[in-house]
Each structure stands twice: as structure tokens, then as C-alpha cells.
């Protein structure tokens, strides 16, 4: 920045110079060099006052600078006891103790400042001295302006550097937090950033959320019940200096830990944690700008905590879902891969679980090795859904397969199974089941119903019969008694077993399919093969339910004797 081009600020100053002698001009030139060589306003003013007082032989002098608001403040003062540096200087108050002359620095209309002098020891100031002073003050004015704008520029630069540094810090924090999914790591990164940004040796970061372990990072601080501050923090709404807090528990708690700044971590209306910062090293304090910036950092940390917890919950959910899917896969293997095909008979079955793991079950097992051996149909529905139901269902399957062939007769078999299920299941769990033992050669069958939906028989001639039933569901009472009923299937007859997910299928209006619709549908389909009947009934259920979600498993098992 050059001031060579600066226009003279004092009108007539150029003329005044003409009457100055060689010596004075040289002194002026030297002063000009000296003054313009300095960019420190204070140093410059001290040097100016020194040379003025020395040359004029005055023992009191001061220089005051005009501030932006037009008022003047004493910058350098020598010998004036009641006008110390930093005091307000009123150039119009002529009566100020000990002042003999006041001269403006620079343009008298808009002076940069004032020079005030006591009475010269030599008596009065001559015209020459006055001219010299005016010229000197003109030069000084431009030098002071120069130095002041340099100081301002430096201050602006410093502020800019600080802003840039703040942005860097924010960017660094955000970048690092985005890749952090551990709540404890979020606390560490946030704590380190705050400590470095504000030079604090002691700090604490606390965060909490129901269902997650509390997060704490404490350096030189120890908060006992961090979450106890939750309600107060939410009310606070933003960072607060200790001295801004109202007297009370919160303030006392912070004071005891040496905290100077409290930074709430907010998620919506709620406080999920806070950071507490101790005293900044090097005597710094937290200014308003710090508070605003700190609130910005805290907002990022709050989001990162929320994300980390959300991620943990998602992982937990995912693990649970994977377990369920695995259980569903295992369960699907419990259903027979292929159904036996005894000569003259045709079987079809289908199960559609409502959730990943279901509670329905069907099986077709041969009692003996040859094709003519009897075979057992079983359809069952475990009360409840989910893992518990699936486990009980696999129990039933294991019991059935283990006991079949070792127990003579259907009733003893079902009674044994009932006792086993009773032992394996908690009191409120039970299984409804229907067992049908078929002799493929004769078509003679016997069945036991343990609390299950009645089976339906569509006769070749067109009639529809319901298999009358009795018997308690399996697992409710260890000593439940079961009875066996005879049934004959002739060529062209079709036996349908189903679970209540079929007749209780709901449409979007909440209406159930019902047994009547099921019977009608079966009558319409009964001339088809068992696979056609099962497919047709599923289509019927779907057409009725439309898009309504089904709450129960749907299972159909059809046995047809070929005509």
C-alpha cells in the first residue's frame, strides 16, 4: 500500500510548507519517513508525540484518535494526569486541565485525531512552530490512516483465517462422523475436536438412548448422573456459558467439574446428550461466535449419534430377520418333498405361511415298505405363530415319524403324541390335528380328529360330507381321550383336509371366506384331480382375499381315489 499518491488532506497545507526553513523541512522529511515506516499505530503515535514534545519543548502532550463513531479516545498521553490513555477526549472542552493548544490531525473537517499540548516551557508557540506542527500532523494523519487500515486488514485477515479454520474443523468432523457407526467413536471424535478447537484440557461427552448402553467420554471430568440433566438440557436449546446459566443444580454440577461451556446435543425437541468443556488454555474465553460455531458442531454430532444407534438397531433387526428366515428354511424342509403315489390314489398338498415361519404342518407317511401298505395323512395347526409355533411343529413331526410303525393303532399313536407334545409345550400352546389312516387296497379309512377343522369328503356322485369330529387338541391335557371313526372312500371320491387359514381368509373389508364358500368351491372343483382341486381352492381364496394381508398360514391337503 503506497501513500505517495495521497492527496493532501489539509487545505492550504502545501502553502504553509513554503514558509518552513530548510532545517524544518528536513525534520519533516525525517518524521515522514519514520511515521510511514511504521504500521503499528501505537508505536507510530508514541514516536510522533515524542518528536513534537521534544521539538517544541512542552512537558505535556497527548494524541487522541477519532473512532468510527466520531468520538475521540486518548491514544498516547504524557504529563496529563487526568487524561490517561483510553480516556474519552473532547476537543471542544477547552477547559480540560492543562491543555493549551489543540490541533487537528489531518483534515480539520474530518480529523483523524487531535494533538493536545500543554503550555510550552518557552512561553508561547510561534507561527513557525505552528506551521511545522500543521505540516507534521498532515503527514502523521496519512501515516495513522495507513497504519489503522493495515491493522484493520490484519484483523479481517485473522477473522477470515479463523472462519476458514472453523470450516475446516466442521468439514473434518462431518467427514469423519459419516464413516463412524460406533456411538463411542462418535463421542471420541466429537470430544477431540472440541478439545483441539478451544484448547481445553478437560472435557466430557455424554449421550444416551433407551435400549442402548450410555455413551461417555470423560477427560478430567466425572459426571455421575449425566442423563439426569436431560430435561434441563432440552430446555436450554443451545450451547451456554457457565455464567449464563441460572443458579441451580445444573450450574452447580458443571461448576463442580470445572466446566465452562455446556453444549446440549439435541434431536428434535429432545436432548440425547451433551458436551462439557473446561476452561480454555491461555486465558481464552468462549465468545458468542464460539457458541454459534459450537452449536453447528453439536448438531453434526447429534445426527451421528442418532445414525449410529439407528444402525445398531438395524443390525439387531437384520440378525433377527436372518434367524427367522433360517428357521423358515429349516421348517420348509419339514414338509414332504414329494408325496407318495399309492396305486389308484392321487395326493396333492400346499402350504403358504403368513410369515417367515409358520405354524401349519402336513405330512403323508407310509406305514410299511410296499406299495399296498397303509399310509397316514396328517394335517396340523400349532397355536400362535413365529419361532415358538415352529419349534412345537417340528416336535410334532419328530414324534409322528418316530412313533409311526412302533405303535399299533391310530388312537394309541395319537395318545402317545399328545403326551409327548404336552410334555414339550408350555401350558398355553397346543396343536390341532387331523390324522387319517388309509388302506389303499380297500379304500377303508379311519381317522382321529384332535380339535382340528372337520375334513370334507366330496363323493363321486356329487354329495359333500363333513367328517364328524371330537377330541381335544394335542398338548392341552396329558390324559386326553381320543376316538377313531371309520370312513370309506370309493373310486371318484375326494377327501380334503385344511387348516383354519383357509376358511378364515379375510378380504379387505374384513369379511371371512367361511366354510360355506369353501364347500361351494369344493363342490365346483370336485370333478378335477387333487392337484387341480388344491390349485383351484388357492385361486378361490386369493380371489376372495384380493390384496388383503393374511394373518394365518393356509394349508390344503387333498386325497383322491381314482375312478
Amino acid at each position: 500500500m503506497s501513500h505517495d499518491d495521497d492527496a493532501p488532506r489539509s487545505p492550504g497545507r502545501g502553502q504553509a510548507w513554503k514558509s518552513l526553513d530548510q532545517g524544518s523541512l528536513e525534520a519533516l522529511l525525517e518524521s515522514a519517513r519514520l511515521l510511514h515506516g511504521s504500521l503499528e499505530p501505537d508505536e507510530l503515535l508514541r514516536s510522533l508525540l515524542r518528536s513534537v514534545m521534544g521539538r517544541l519543548v512542552v512537558s505535556r502532550g497527548l494524541l487522541a484518535l477519532v473512532d468510527e463513531d466520531g468520538s475521540a479516545t486518548v491514544a498516547v498521553s504524557r504529563g496529563f494526569k487526568n487524561l490517561a490513555e483510553g480516556a474519552v477526549f473532547d476537543p471542544s472542552a477547552r477547559t480540560q486541565a492543562g491543555i493549551d493548544r489543540i490541533l487537528p490531525m489531518g483534515d480539520p473537517e474530518r480529523p483523524t485525531g487531535y494533538l493536545a499540548l500543554g503550555k510550552p516551557l518557552t512561553g508561547v508557540l510561534g507561527a513557525r512552530e505552528t506551521e511545522f506542527l500543521e505540516a507534521l500532523l498532515g503527514i502523521a494523519a496519512s501515516a495513522v490512516d495507513n497504519a489503522r487500515s493495515h491493522t484493520r486488514a490484519r484483523e479481517l485477515n485473522r477473522q477470515l483465517d479463523r472462519r476458514v479454520q472453523q470450516l475446516r474443523t466442521l468439514l473434518d468432523l462431518v467427514r469423519s462422523l459419516t464413516s463412524t457407526l460406533e456411538p463411542q467413536a462418535v463421542a471420541q471424535i466429537f470430544g477431540l475436536t472440541l478439545a483441539g478447537q478451544w484448547l481445553v484440557r478437560r472435557s466430557a461427552v455424554h449421550a444416551w438412548r433407551d435400549g442402548h448402553p450410555p455413551v461417555a467420554r470423560q477427560v478430567g471430568m466425572h459426571f455421575v448422573d449425566a442423563r439426569g440433566l436431560e430435561a434441563t438440557l432440552a430446555e436450554l436449546g443451545g450451547p451456554a456459558r457457565l455464567e449464563d446459566l441460572p443458579e441451580g443444580d445444573l450450574r452447580r454440577t458443571l461448576e463442580a467439574q470445572g466446566a465452562r461451556l455446556l453444549v446440549p446435543l439435541l434431536s428434535g425437541e429432545r436432548a440425547l446428550g451433551f458436551a462439557a468443556l473446561g476452561e480454555p488454555a491461555g486465558g481464552r474465553t468462549f465468545d458468542d461466535d464460539d457458541l454459534i460455531f459450537c452449536a453447528g458442531l453439536a448438531a453434526q454430532a447429534a445426527v451421528a449419534f442418532d445414525n449410529a444407534w439407528y444402525f445398531a438397531e438395524a443390525v439387531r433387526r437384520e440378525t433377527l430377520e436372518r434367524d427367522l428366515r433360517l428357521a423358515g428354511d429349516i421348517q420348509a424342509r419339514l414338509f414332504p418333498d414329494t408325496l407318495p403315489r399309492p396305486p389308484g390314489w392321487r395326493l396333492a398338498a400346499r402350504n403358504r405361511p403368513a410369515s417367515a415361519v409358520g405354524g401349519d404342518y402336513y405330512d403323508v407317511l407310509s406305514v410299511g415298505d410296499d406299495e399296498a401298505a397303509p399310509f397316514l395323512l396328517c394335517i396340523a395347526d400349532v397355536s400362535g405363530k413365529g419361532m415358538a409355533a415352529a419349534l412345537l411343529m417340528s416336535n410334532l413331526q419328530a414324534a409322528l415319524r418316530a412313533l409311526l410303525g412302533t405303535v399299533e393303532g391310530l388312537v394309541p399313536l395319537v395318545s402317545r403324541i399328545n403326551r409327548l407334545i404336552h410334555r414339550a409345550s408350555p401350558g398355553n400352546k397346543f396343536i390341532t390335528a387331523l390324522f387319517v389312516l388309509v388302506d389303499p387296497g380297500s379304500g377303508r379309512c379311519s381317522y382321529v380328529n384332535a380339535g382340528h377343522n372337520d375334513g370334507l369328503v366330496a363323493r363321486a356322485g356329487g354329495g359333500l360330507e363333513t367328517l364328524p369330529s371330537g377330541g381335544m387338541p394335542l398338548g392341552l391335557f396329558a390324559g386326553a381321550a381320543y376316538s377313531e371313526t371309520e370312513l370309506a372312500l370309493s373310486p371318484g371320491d375326494l377327501l380334503l383336509l385344511y387348516t383354519d387359514g383357509v376358511n378364515e381368509a379375510e378380504n379387505p373389508e374384513g369379511e371371512e371366506l367361511g366354510e360355506d364358500r369353501l364347500r361351494q368351491a369344493l363342490v365346483g372343483l370336485a370333478q378335477g384331480t387333487p392337484p387341480e382341486v388344491v390349485a383351484g381352492l388357492f385361486a378361490e381364496v386369493d380371489a376372495f382375499a384380493r390384496d388383503a394381508p393374511q394373518h394365518d398360514d393356509i394349508t390344503l391337503l387333498a386325497l383322491g381315489r381314482e375312478a
Binding site: Q165, L173, S176, S179, I189, L192, G196, Q197, V200
Partner: protein, 120 residues
């Protein structure tokens, strides 16, 4: 692309020199914190941080220094920071770290400082 952050450890008598290379930012600061913590846990309170190859430091990186300085000084030690590159030193100055930490020109000078004037 940030350079990878590497900490190399060397022992000079009772003094441990941790040489840092690359970016010390919010992402890598936790590692540095662990490194310093393990020195202190092992009773090493005279630490020199060799910043010759340190190309960037963020507030979080400076936060590591803040968290330990009181403890090591109370234990009669210090953390001296040697050979800061001008750009990195700017950050130290801007935040006022130069007033709190002993910033030294190079590692031998830092080691010398420990041996010549054992900290109180």
C-alpha cells in the same frame, strides 16, 4: 486424497519419540490418542512428537495433545512438538497452541530440551 496416517515409535533413553506422517484429522486422531495413552500407561511422560512428515492437522488432532498435556506435566514430563511444517504450524498458531506447547525446531533439539532442563 488424504495421505495415510502413520505413527512410528523410537526410544531415546527416557524419551519416547512418536513420529507422525500424513493426515492427523478427526478420522485418525483416535489412533494417535490410543498411542499416546499407551505411552502414558507405560509410565512414559517425556514425549517428543516428530512432525517432520505430518502434512495436516485438524482440531481433533490438536485435541489429542490437549487431553494429555496436564497429565504428563503433572507427572513431571512434557509433550514437545518438533519440526512442524509451516502450514501445520499455522494451525497451531491460529488456535493459540504455540502459547501452551513447546514447539521445537527438530527432534535433537527437543531431546536436548528434556535433558538440559529436566521439567519440574
Amino acid at each position: 486424497m488424504p495421505e495415510p496416517f502413520v505413527i512410528t515409535r523410537a526410544v531415546h533413553g527416557e524419551i519416547v519419540v512418536l513420529a507422525l506422517a500424513g493426515f492427523l484429522d478427526a478420522h485418525t486422531a483416535p489412533r494417535f490418542e490410543t498411542a499416546v495413552q499407551s505411552e502414558i500407561d507405560a509410565g512414559h511422560h517425556r514425549l517428543v512428537v516428530d512432525a517432520t512428515a505430518l502434512s495436516y492437522i485438524s482440531s481433533a488432532g490438536l485435541g489429542v495433545f490437549m487431553g494429555f498435556i496436564e497429565e504428563v506435566r503433572e507427572a513431571g514430563g512434557d509433550i514437545k512438538i518438533a519440526a512442524l511444517a509451516p502450514k501445520v504450524r499455522e494451525v497451531f498458531n491460529l488456535l493459540g497452541f504455540d502459547a501452551i506447547f513447546d514447539l521445537v525446531d527438530d527432534v535433537p533439539a527437543a531431546v536436548e530440551r528434556f535433558t538440559a532442563t529436566p521439567s519440574a
